[in-house]
Symmetry: C2
Subunit: 334 residues, 2 copies
Amino acid sequence: MSALHRATLQDVARLANVSPKTVSRVFAHREQVAPATVERVLSAAKRLRFRPNTLARTLRHGGVATTVGLLMGDLGNPFYYTIAAGVERALADRGLTLIVATTDDSEEGEERVADTLLAQRVGALLLIPVGPDQSYLEGERQLGTAVVAIDRPARNLVADSVVLRNREGAKEATRSLIAHGHRRIAYLCNPASVYTQMERCAGYRDALTSAGIPADGRYESLVDDMTVPAEETARAMLAQPDPPTAIVAGNNRMCIGVLRVIRELANPPALIGFDDFDTADILGVSVVSHDPAEMGRRAAELAIDRMSDLGGFTTQLEVPTHLVLRGSGERPPA
Amino acid sequence: MSALHRATLQDVARLANVSPKTVSRVFAHREQVAPATVERVLSAAKRLRFRPNTLARTLRHGGVATTVGLLMGDLGNPFYYTIAAGVERALADRGLTLIVATTDDSEEGEERVADTLLAQRVGALLLIPVGPDQSYLEGERQLGTAVVAIDRPARNLVADSVVLRNREGAKEATRSLIAHGHRRIAYLCNPASVYTQMERCAGYRDALTSAGIPADGRYESLVDDMTVPAEETARAMLAQPDPPTAIVAGNNRMCIGVLRVIRELANPPALIGFDDFDTADILGVSVVSHDPAEMGRRAAELAIDRMSDLGGFTTQLEVPTHLVLRGSGERPPA
DNA sequence: TTGAAAGCGCTACCAG
DNA sequence: CTGGTAGCGCTTTCAA
């Protein structure tokens, strides 16, 4: 017997003097096997260091997938990897393993990377849509792969989704600034053409409208070019005549960029960011906070449900946000 | 023909009027196939929405693995996920996919989770060791699975590893504090019994020794209980008589904890942290910086090399650190 | 350049 | 309670 041979179920069966099927039964934990036989099988398995091959198990006709794919733009972003962490946790709880793939934030890469994941026969595909169109997943969905969109709904594809209550979150933040006496309130974001930003910007406008403050394009900086540093956008906004006395930053990155700029100012504008971050309390930054890990967890659970029970209506889940006031958002107008 | 049937290579062969092997040739190694045949096969594949089954491909005797497993302890830690991002990127470049699994920092969980990964027949196992002993991987390593330890060397297991130059990094930080006139310098960390902390603490001591400053246990807070908040450790350190005039924080978490505490002080001690973070520049925190993504990338590359060329000596890679001075580390003694 | 057949590791189906 | 047999989707011998 070669030492460099991975023991198979057959090897175990041979050593334990039973049929392969019996070994299978023991490891599948489902069927009745005589205790003595179980004992014999397990000891043989141990001796051979047998480890069931999940791949072979899945390959079987109608085999149940043991993996779930998560497709996203970039693992390096705290927001995204926290989602991933939530997904992983929820999957592990059900004995599923997570395959992660990133598109490096390129729209063209998305379908190609999804293909790789699907070639691995993942039981479900979770994705944070980057491209403008996910219709390429329609066939796969019909074949029984659960598809769940996270953070943004999929486009041209009927699929479950889990998103933040973006609009309400931004509205609440803006309303709070108004309540503190601000009327010249700016909204800054980049990128601007993604779903989340359009929602948040809409929420910002909602609040202004409700307060009878006319919309003013000068106070909206909807940049859509990730090569532009957030600081530059912030500086431009504040350099104009009649600058805003308060700023709503559309995301983490923009918030930190604004922060860098206004710290140099004698009379900094009020600031509320979207997305919480580690040192926000130290820096006294008010934010619209939410729980990305929770989003990931919910998405994974949705996918798991869908795996066992296909069909039915799709679910659109919304995860709440809440305003955390830490000082920067309560500054009155200068 | 049912619409709810995943097209197989056979289906494509039938439709294209060729043998399965020919289809295989087209999709695999681009072996010599007549252009016209290729055309026919591809068009049939497209029509049936055929997607090669990676699982089946891997199952084949001696089949080449297409996945790599990454095993780590902590879930929401930026440092670890940045490593993961580096790993993912390097793997994707070689057409491999990443399976992520976490042990939730429990030592017992490690082997069990490793088992899950190995049951998926990953071609390599990258791990950030958590448990005290990785000898359970020895058999698998002999079977040909590449094993690479990241951030800490594996214990009781001969394996490649990629770690930071922890000792030199901490030494440089401490030396810098000494150069700024400090003599009562503290080292704070939690957890303390992990490899990285032992190395960093040793570097801290090296620097003191070189400067002729006697070691003083009162200035070492080597806590080993993650339920203790970093703030508490920091407060205790500063509450003693003759408190330190400078602090080296062993990791990100401790650094931010210390920061929370010393901001309230009239004469804050100097501070240098280990690990960089997003807002460190705004907060003016000096740190020993390094590139976790680079570590991940190097580990993945090591694993890929090892996959194709087993045997040979193991490699111990060290990734450099560098001191970034932003203010907090240059404060003179009060 | 193409094809037939055997088999990877496992589990369902039907027996005994 | 246990065992034979067929087959999952693919790829590798060998032949044609």
